[in-house]
């Protein structure tokens, strides 16, 4: 397309993308897209419905959806204030704190599980006091939610903090001059502004919770209907019944893809 006089169509027509970009980009896309297709090729379609509707599969699916929803709620309640504080707050040492709270992002999940175990486990730093109070987290569904929230919280914080920084604080400043309290401005100005960032952060957190494996196994254990989520069921089934494991893996991929597609598809319509 020839560059026209209108600046917006000019911006759209000329991308400035070097041609060589396409080769590594295509390689990267193949690297990500082919393995899920590999699962598709291994699915035993004749027994697929039977395999994914078995009692243990349904129990795992229910538990996974329930715990991922619960951990996403926890992430929402804690993550939004965290992102606000990190993006807008003026506190000495905030940058160090920022690096620390994003640690679960780079921590291998098994290590995260061990960290939770040594903190909230029966003999852990906090856990021994909880034990005295009669609260036992290990082997409970609450432990699954904790493990998921621990690993997915940074996803929301990073996503929302980025959106807050991009939006800037000038609208809130205007709202303040018009007499709005900080809480009122947060609710009526900031939140609507960063809603897309918040939504994508929540989707990422939910998807990460759905796929959580290492920290759950290390910290919560594995019992049908209580702590054995879909990824743990897949891991267990592949020992005894690889066909069931593949069918469940596909189910997990489908649920995750549906969640991501739903959120990003809607954003695309805007």
């Amino acid at each position: 397309m020839l560059a026209s006089a209108r600046p917006d169509s000019q911006a759209r027509g000329f991308t400035g993308l070097p041609r060589w970009i396409w080769a590594p980009a295509a390689l990267g896309a193949l690297f990500v897209v082919v393995p899920p297709a590999g699962i598709l090729a291994r699915v035993d379609w004749a027994d697929f419905v039977l395999l994914v509707t078995s009692e243990s599969s349904l129990a795992a699916l229910r538990l996974s959806l329930g715990t991922a929803a619960a951990s996403t709620a926890v992430v929402l309640l804690l993550g939004v204030p965290m992102a606000m504080a990190l993006a807008r707050g003026t506190l000495p040492g905030l940058r160090v704190l920022r690096a620390l709270v994003l640690l679960p992002l780079v921590l291998p999940p098994v290590v995260g599980g061990l960290a939770l175990l040594y903190t909230f486990g029966r003999l852990g730093l906090v856990g021994r006091w909880l034990d005295v109070l009669g609260v036992q987290l290990a082997f409970s569904t609450a432990a699954v939610v904790m493990a998921q929230a621990f690993v997915s919280l940074p996803f929301l914080v990073v996503s929302l903090e980025g959106a807050l920084r991009t939006a800037g604080g000038r609208y809130e400043a205007v709202a303040a001059t018009l007499g709005a309290s900080p809480t009122h401005a947060f609710r009526r100005v900031t939140l609507p502004l960063v809603l897309p960032g918040l939504a994508s952060g929540l989707v990422l957190a939910f998807a990460r919770s759905l796929g959580e494996f290492g920290a759950t196994l290390t910290f919560a254990g594995s019992l049908q209907g209580v702590t054995r989520t879909l990824p743990l069921e897949v891991y267990l089934q592949r020992e005894a019944d690889p066909d069931a494991a593949v069918a469940l893996a596909l189910l997990l991929v489908a649920v995750a893809a549906a969640v991501v597609g739903l959120a990003y598809g809607r954003r695309g319509l805007r």
């Binding site: 390689l27 486990g121 019992l223 267990l236």
Partner: protein, 252 residues
């Protein structure tokens, strides 16, 4: 562009191939790749060293994982010379697929035991004590060998076990007992021995209902078929027997 992509793909595959096959041996050295069940890690490291000492110029590369994982890797064409499994069922899958060179031979046995915290604070004396109210028991899921063994032993003893968690591997069970999350766990005798004092073992007679047999076989695709057969024979020999016994394994 298509050519550039396939060239890049080929480069990627070629660059990772040595990693997948373990380390490539320096020229002049012969390398033997042994796939061994996780519970054999310690013993096979020692046995491998003894084999290297008896065969100058030979390097034994050990790949340790769960037996089913290893069998799946072998079925997918992983470069292995010898396979040692923790149970006969998994080995049967490999020999049944025609992947073994000759028959598999059982070289060791292993039985379950109850792992408890050092000093046995709950005073557990046998399987029946594991169903005491409030006692947190962890065992393997019935889908894996250590779990089916636990079920068989419980059936022999006539007790109903209600674990708070059914783990996918025996090391996960051991970990839960060591960390104090669980009060008791059903693991193998060799796991307690390998934990070196972090847990205590309580033997129970019903473990005889489920004895795990460890078979070994040289593999069809071996790059060193002669050496592979020699290693399998070496594992069944007196020197290896001593190492296995020290680790808590029983005689075949």
């Amino acid at each position: 562009m298509k050519r550039a992509v396939s060239a890049a793909l080929a480069a990627l595959v070629l660059s990772t191939a040595p990693l997948l096959a373990g380390c490539t041996p320096p020229s002049g050295e012969r390398s033997l790749t042994v796939f061994a069940a996780a519970s054999l890690r310690q013993s096979f490291t020692e046995i491998g060293e003894a084999f290297e000492a008896a065969h100058p110029g030979v390097r034994v590369a050990l790949n340790v994982a769960g037996s089913s994982d290893l069998a799946a890797q072998i079925a997918q064409g992983a470069p292995a010379d010898v396979f040692a499994s923790a149970d006969t069922t998994t080995m049967d899958r490999v020999t049944g697929a025609g992947l073994a060179d000759g028959d598999a031979a059982v070289f060791a046995t292993n039985v379950l035991t109850i792992a408890v915290a050092p000093g046995n604070p709950d005073g557990i004396t046998g399987l029946a004590d594991l169903s005491l109210p409030g006692l947190r028991l962890v065992q393997c899921a019935p889908q894996v060998p250590c779990g089916s063994a636990a079920q068989a032993a419980a059936a022999r003893a006539g007790v109903d076990l209600a674990p708070v968690s059914e783990e996918p591997t025996v090391t996960d069970v051991l970990g839960k007992v060591i960390s104090g999350e669980a009060d008791a766990g059903l693991v193998y005798v060799t796991d307690v021995r390998g934990a070196g004092g972090a847990v205590e073992g309580v033997a129970f007679p019903e473990s005889a209902a489920a004895v795990n047999r460890y078979p070994i076989a040289a593999l069809r695709g071996a790059r060193e078929p002669e050496l592979a057969r020699e290693f399998a024979a070496f594992v069944a020999g007196a020197e290896a027997r001593k190492v296995l016994e020290d680790a808590g394994f029983g005689a075949p």
